[in-house]
Amino acid sequence: MPGRKAYPRATVKKIVKAHANCNVSKNVDIMIYLDYVLFMQTLMKEATIEAKQGGERGITGRSVKKVTADTLAKFKG
């Protein structure tokens, strides 16, 4: 991660702005990104578990989709 551009800050900000229809104050997008990272972590963890349970090799779209709803529910504020 270090050295590379971690994430497109502008894009994240735009996405959130579009969805929230609100302005986003400074540096909030970093925390949003942090939240997103946590979400991704949870999602991938769940997907891995699911894939293992389903006897798949690696993470497939199926396993991800299966856990998506669950993980989103977890991240509902």
Binding site: K14, A18, N27, I30, Y36, L38, M44, R62, A69, K74
Partner: protein, 607 residues
């Protein structure tokens, strides 16, 4: 029945001298004193007839005798009737088994006599040797009964036609078996069933001797599963929820246990397992059967279909079901391809898909066959426009010879909604997840519907197209989703840390992209809600901190700062720190209790 019978019969017969010495402690000793004071002769006289212990008690024990001495014979008769009825209720199959044995014995005697008459001089046919042996074996025929039945029939066939007609009479005592069969309307299905056998060769034994017996057993077969219920029920707790439907399932279950091919589970399943038990009871049960066949059988099917169609929204109280549905939705979604579902409305999609949902799951292990199966199936649904599950599958069944297996399975699962694989798989889910999912189901459904509309435009294209397309939020603002490369990198890192092997496939990445889109949508909604609640037009740091707290991502132990340090690259941390207020707040938060931080956060935002 066996337990109560034995002790009383023993005690009197082994004479009163032993009784005081007898030392089986506990319950059995208690009744004995009651018996012993009675004259030995009387006790002996009663024992042979001691089928119902209650009757014995009433008649034998002095106290009871006194109590009943006052009663009129009518009352006594009434008592007896009640007792017998109760016994019949408590041990429902007792009477049946007995009657069965009698029914067994009578025709056999009959046949033996007939055999003597018909073939005094004729040579014995080798196959016939088996049947007398089995006749001698008597009551223990439940297991091998099938074989002996066949033996009987073959014997008769070789003997004479007249014998056979007799046999038919003996079996069920009337012409009754034929009626139910008509009411079942099994004609077409049966053909299917036979076709089916051709298709799936794995079970030759089934077809072996049964062609003859079909007429006889169609009726009885339906009753059976009830008895089997409790044992099978153990598979999944969800059956418990739908107590009313317990009677419906087991046949199907049975069927799915034994073979996957039976098109009409009831007939097929019951054939193999239980025909013997019910053999002689046709007259007893037929009224019941009739009503059940007429009313229940269609309704059952309809009911299950209704379930499917009802989707998640129905208040059937079948939690397990509901949750299945929700859990599986995404699965069905991903497997089934685009076209049908774009056209249909979201709810429609779900109806259709639920039927399919179970399927891919059950076949999770077999990666290879997926694509074809799914494609074929979606096509078939295409044809029928996904209106009705039942008819659709039936049509498929007839049309696609290749896919017999698949359709059968699917059909089963549609009807029973509980094949073993599915159930075991479901049991893997914790109730909490089920609940959670069902909570978010509505939202998820919307999203999935939207997803499909979007996906429809793209087809199966890669994520590059996703990247290219601009999306419009519900506020009418355009946005682009995150760059897939970044998402992939992130996902891969976390996948590796959580122990997954291999790379992330394109579909997986697509799913992840979709998930992150949804995530941002949800997050934006939440954040704007918080900001609006605070009468702000800007999303502040406090909003996201509240959100993370509410997401249980941060708590007293894990501060946002700690999380940031763990997950964010150094530059971003620096960014956070560069602005004086933020790090101060965070440090304070790290040290102080959470209650103070709320106020502090506000202050620092202001400065």
């Amino acid at each position: 029945m066996a337990d109560p019978n034995n002790p009383p019969s023993r005690t009197p017969l082994k004479s009163s001298s032993q009784i005081p010495v007898r030392t089986t402690p506990g319950v059995p000793t208690l009744p004995r004193p009651a018996y012993t004071p009675g004259p030995g002769g009387a006790a002996r006289a009663y024992t042979p007839g001691a089928r119902t212990p209650r009757g014995l008690l009433i008649s034998n024990t002095p106290s009871n005798a006194n109590a009943h001495a006052n009663l009129t014979p009518h009352v006594r008769a009434a008592y007896r009737a009640i007792d017998s009825r109760r016994a019949a209720i408590l041990t429902p199959h007792h009477a049946r088994r007995r009657s069965l044995r009698e029914a067994r014995e009578t025709p056999r005697n009959f046949l033996l006599q007939l055999g003597k008459v018909l073939a005094p001089k004729s040579e014995r046919i080798p196959s016939s040797s088996s049947s007398p042996g089995s006749a001698l074996s008597g009551g223990s025929r439940n297991n091998n009964g099938q074989g002996t039945e066949e033996g009987d029939t073959s014997e008769e066939l070789t003997f004479d036609i007249s014998t056979r007609s007799r046999y038919g009479d003996d079996d069920d005592d009337e012409e009754l078996p034929k009626r139910p069969r008509l009411s079942l309307g099994l004609g077409a299905p049966e053909e299917d069933w036979e076709d089916d056998d051709d298709a799936d060769l794995p079970q030759p034994h089934r077809s072996a001797g049964l062609e003859d017996l079909t007429e006889n057993f169609t009726v009885q077969s339906i009753e059976l599963p009830r008895r089997v219920d409790p044992e099978r029920d153990g598979h999944g707790s969800r059956m418990r929820d739908s107590m009313g439907r317990l009677s419906d399932f087991p046949q199907l279950q049975q069927q799915s246990d034994g073979i996957d091919s039976g098109f009409f589970p009831p007939t097929a399943g019951a054939f193999d397992d239980d025909d013997d038990d019910e053999f002689g009871n046709a007259e007893d049960r037929i009224p019941d059967e009739f009503s059940r066949l007429d009313s229940d059988d269609p309704t059952r099917r309809r009911e299950t279909i209704g379930h499917l169609e009802g989707g998640g929204g129905m208040g059937m109280g079948l939690l397990g079901r509901d949750s299945d549905f929700h859990i599986e939705v995404p699965v069905g979604m991903d497997e089934s391809t685009t076209t049908t579902f774009m056209i249909a409305s979201p709810t429609r999609q779900f109806e259709v898909e639920q039927g399919q949902a179970a399927e891919p799951v059950a076949r999770g292990g077999q990666g290879g066959g997926f694509a074809e199966l799914m494609d074929r199936r979606s096509d078939s649904y295409d044809d029928d426009d996904g209106n009705d599950i039942g008819p659709t599958t039936f049509d498929d069944y007839e049309n696609n010879d290749d896919g017999m297996d698949l359709d059968n399975n699917q059909d089963d699962q549609d009807q029973a909604a509980g094949s073993d694989e599915e159930m075991t798989r479901l049991s893997g889910y914790t109730p909490t997840t089920a609940m959670r999912v069902s909570l978010s189901a509505a939202a998820a459904r919307e999203r999935l519907g939207r997803f499909f509309r979007e996906e429809g435009g793209e087809g199966r294209g890669g994520f590059s197209k996703i990247k290219a397309t601009k999306k419009i939020s519900k506020h009418g603002i355009e946005y682009t989703s995150l760059p897939p490369a970044m998402v992939k990198r992130l996902a891969q890192t976390f996948a590796k840390t959580s122990g997954a092997k291999g790379n992330i496939s394109p579909e997986a990445l697509k799913a992840i992209m979709q998930a992150s889109d949804w995530f941002f949508e949800q997050l934006g909604d939440d954040l704007s809600a918080y900001a609006k609640h605070a009468h702000r037009k800007t999303i502040d740091m406090s909003d996201i901190l509240t959100l993370m707290k509410r997401q249980r991502q941060t708590n007293a132990q894990t501060t946002p700062f700690a999380l940031a340090q763990r997950y964010l690259p150094r530059e971003l941390l620096q960014e956070l720190r560069m602005t004086p207020p933020v790090p101060v707040k965070k440090r304070r938060k790290a040290t102080a209790s959470s209650s103070r931080t709320g106020a502090g956060g506000e202050d620092e935002e202001v400065t």
